[in-house]
Symmetry: C2
């Protein structure tokens, strides 16, 4: 913590300052727009962009993460609060901040309990399907402000402003950087400057509204944005704690997932060490800070963090600088923001989430693993049909489902001896010799609760097809762990085989697995022996048969 | 399906008939008692003991499973319906049947979709903690009927009857079988006869109430039980479908888990093949049948199934016989049941669930694997504090949590060459030689979304401690599968290493894993090569260095 500040070098300052300016310019339209997605007054998004990134800079783990408002987290905030309070009401703002507090406390608790492994509860296909589904929900929700009326109705000046902005933003995204490069700007600078498109469009549109008086002709505008820094907010609704508990848990989980996915991308680029437990603490503290400053739930944003990194950020000082600039913008006169047209904010949201619609993961999964492609599709449809909260649960269930489903099909090979050698190989792949009185099986999976039914079922199947077998040798060379459930299942298999007069033997048990087994009663209760190698087991059992 | 009936042999009949009689004698008190646990009139439990086992006999997979009312499933039914309708009301009975229908349809659907792997979503420690927690909740709920009043109050005649029955039942369980054996009965028969204790106590107590007129002195009794077979029930509450959907899903899951755990125990004893998808169909059909005959949710009961098996059941005909006997009991005059004292039914429930309080799993887990012991305790406490529905969710989350937690700590070894050989071994365990320009890592785990963060993190750590390494060889001998998430992570690791001029090579990739990898673009994009063995990789990379 704060190691970066103690070791700060002057040379890093230029990059940090430049990145801070760029990110602040991104955050002004994004913060206001994502506050609207959450059903909040736009200023809440600006508040959420000041204190939280500073607190994250103190406690977080990533050097270039940009913490602040983020589309999916705002969507979820809006979805959770909508049934509890009317959008735009005072209670809505109180509950949104309170939800950030609950999520923040959940994240802090998980960090203290070192539960960073929670980030692995979503597989990548599920995460991708969830993101695409959420992006579609967000874009759909912006159609009404974009057109100034519920489709198929539309308000012409609003729709013209909104659609015009969408076209400008898409063009800016595609052609601004090449254009600037043709004007002599360096490629990397031009790329970063093109990220300022939304801010420029917002400024231009605001001027247009003011000059043409479009607000008096029915174009919805932001309205007065209070000037000054955020005040300390301690308002909570006592009666809503319970209602916010479960959504707060889910939201905390999503905040962590989104931030980790951004941080992983950055860590790969910077060869940075990612400390997931520290990330939990940083995000938790940032969300508590967001509540205290009257904001809303925040997380690390992949798109903003990538810009931050590309713009030269070296340390979290970049985020601090951007937060200070936002604070200055709020201290300066904010009167002009009153004319900011909502259709244009809707356009910035729609264009921003278009970037989240990546189908590469689905395409790869479709070719590589159909179960993962199915999980992608079901999660995406789950978010669209059941909503984002249920979508999180669907995502976890599908990630775990594909895991358990795969685990329930362990590869198990019948082994035979390659004549004249000590090698035992899969009889389906090699010309290997088996003995009628001995069945040798190799389980190519760790033994745990997810596959023991399949393992014991397969053992019984093989014993049925090898009715003369008096000894069963389980070759454990591919088994790296045995959990408690598997331990019981092995003990029960042992008892069942013993009743039938069939010996159960283990061979090639790995060192760490054997160390653990010694702490159980299985080795002493085992109806057979534990052998160092399969060949030793086979020789011993064969010679014993000769004697008996 | 029905194979057992087509192949039925006369010799099996005696065992089936005997078991049918014994199970029917168990089912009369159990059915009525578990109906009370679910907040239903006792007759609902008897209805649930007639049609469902017959339907299960037609569609189920286990030969000796006894399907019918079961304590935990009844507890969950009661907990789900309680907030929706007052206990004992007509609506309560309608909703309980409707819940069985929802759970039954869920089970049928899962069976058709071949989702039998769902049984592996609970680890054994979690299942045990869940069972113990539920048993405690059930026993606690019976204290009021046992004492005839809310403690510390009590109604003396009720408490005397109730506690007397508890003592009698505990004595019968412990001493009846030895006593009968001393009277010359065969051990196996005596053991089975002792299971009739509850029926005898119920009969005796009913007679006592009738003779002494205890019902007029404030002892609660069952009251009139309608005579005759169950009628076709199609009553549902249209407005409650949605409210029953989620509980129905959870209940279906628990029905399946409970039945599979009983069936697994039986399958081990009988060397029977367990077909989990067929079990889903059988349980689903049985629950739909229970709804149609005005019953409640049913499942396979471990304790009853064990008695059924021990009493000589050979085929599902035993269950059919027991169902027919119960039907006859309902056709015969049922007037005497009106005097059945509720404190005695409470006593049978309490003594029955005492048998579910096993701590052996906790003890083993504590010695063998603390994480599993913790999962046991948290699930048990979760059921006690949050209720049984939330307990199911807690159980799934903990089962998956321990799985992901373990997966997030894969064993990864730095390998070196045993001098003068082709063998590469863990440098921490063997005197193996490493090369400064080459890092060889063996991952002892399947690569999937749960451990890729740990794997890439460890790779980066090792590269930091081996700054001179120009080549990284991943030895894949212990990797049995690579999922889509891991595929992406490997591709990203490859790109990151390429940027740094470090070659990424794979060695000893297993056949099935290589087959899958060929369907992705990883092999062609790989910045290094894929080698058959680690020794070949090391020789090649070393010689290349010599040339460059």
């Amino acid at each position: 913590m704060l190691q970066w500040l103690r070791q700060y070098r002057r040379a890093a300052l230029a990059g940090d300052a430049g990145a801070g300016v760029v990110v602040a310019m991104m955050l002004i339209p994004q913060g206001m727009a994502y506050a609207l997605v959450a059903g909040l007054p736009p200023v809440a998004g600006l508040y959420a962009s000041i204190l939280p990134p500073i607190v994250y800079a103190l406690f977080g783990s990533s050097m270039t993460q940009s913490v602040g408002p983020m589309a999916i987290v705002s969507l979820m905030t809006g979805a959770v609060i909508a049934p509890l309070a009317p959008a735009g009401s005072g209670l809505h703002a109180v509950l949104a901040a309170q939800l950030a507090l609950v999520a923040g406390l959940v994240l802090l608790l998980c960090g203290i309990l070192r539960m960073g492994f929670l980030a692995s509860f979503f597989s990548r296909p599920v995460m991708s399907g969830f993101t695409v589904g959420s992006a579609l929900v967000i874009a759909y929700g912006q159609l009404k402000p974009l057109f100034g009326a519920q489709l198929p109705d539309y308000h012409l000046p609003s729709a013209a402003l909104g659609l015009g902005s969408v076209v400008l933003l898409v063009l800016a995204r595609r052609y601004l950087s090449p254009l600037l490069q043709r004007c002599g700007m360096a490629a990397s600078r031009a790329e970063i400057a093109s990220k300022l498109g939304p801010m420029l469009v917002v400024l231009g549109a605001t001027g247009l509204v003011w000059v043409l008086g479009l607000d008096t002709r029915g174009v919805a505008v932001t309205g007065p944005v209070p000037s000054g820094l955020p005040q300390l907010n301690l308002a909570v609704s006592q009666e809503h704690w319970y209602a916010l508990l479960k959504p707060g848990l889910l939201l905390g989980f999503i905040i962590f997932l989104m931030s980790m996915s951004a941080a992983q991308t950055l860590a790969l680029k910077r060869q940075e060490k990612l400390v997931s437990n520290q990330e939990l603490i940083g995000l938790g503290a940032a969300n508590v800070a967001s509540m205290l400053s009257g904001g809303m739930a925040v997380t690390g944003s992949l798109s903003r963090s990538a810009v931050n990194f590309a713009a030269g950020a070296n340390t979290p000082l970049a985020s601090v600088i951007s937060a200070v600039l936002l604070a200055l913008a709020l201290v300066a006169p904010t009167g002009w923001l009153a004319w900011l047209p909502l259709p244009v904010l809707a356009a910035t949201i729609i264009v921003a989430v278009l970037g989240m619609l990546e189908l590469d993961t689905l395409r790869t999964a479709w070719r590589y693993d159909r179960a993962d492609a199915l999980a992608w599709a079901v999660t995406c449809i789950g978010v669209l049909v059941l909503g984002i909260e249920a979508g999180v649960v669907v995502g976890v269930v599908l990630s775990m489902g594909t895991l358990i489903w795969r685990a329930s099909r362990p590869h198990i090979a019948v082994l035979g001896r390659i004549a004249g050698t000590e090698h035992f190989r899969n009889v389906d792949r090699y010309p290997a010799e088996t003995q009628p009185e001995m069945l040798v099986l190799r389980v190519d999976a760790n033994l745990f609760f997810g596959n023991m039914e399949a393992v014991t079922g397969r053992v019984e199947d093989e014993l049925r097809t090898h009715p003369t077998a008096r000894d069963l040798v389980l070759v454990m060379s591919a088994v790296n762990s045995i959990d408690t459930t598997a331990l019981f299942a092995l003990a029960e298999l042992n008892a069942s085989l013993q009743r039938r007069g069939i010996g159960l033997h283990l061979a090639e048990v790995k060192g760490p697995v054997m160390d653990r087994l010694r702490e159980s009663s299985l080795p002493e209760r085992l109806n057979g022996k534990i052998f160092l190698s399969t060949a030793i087991a086979a020789d011993f059992l064969h010679s014993r048969k000769g004697h008996s």
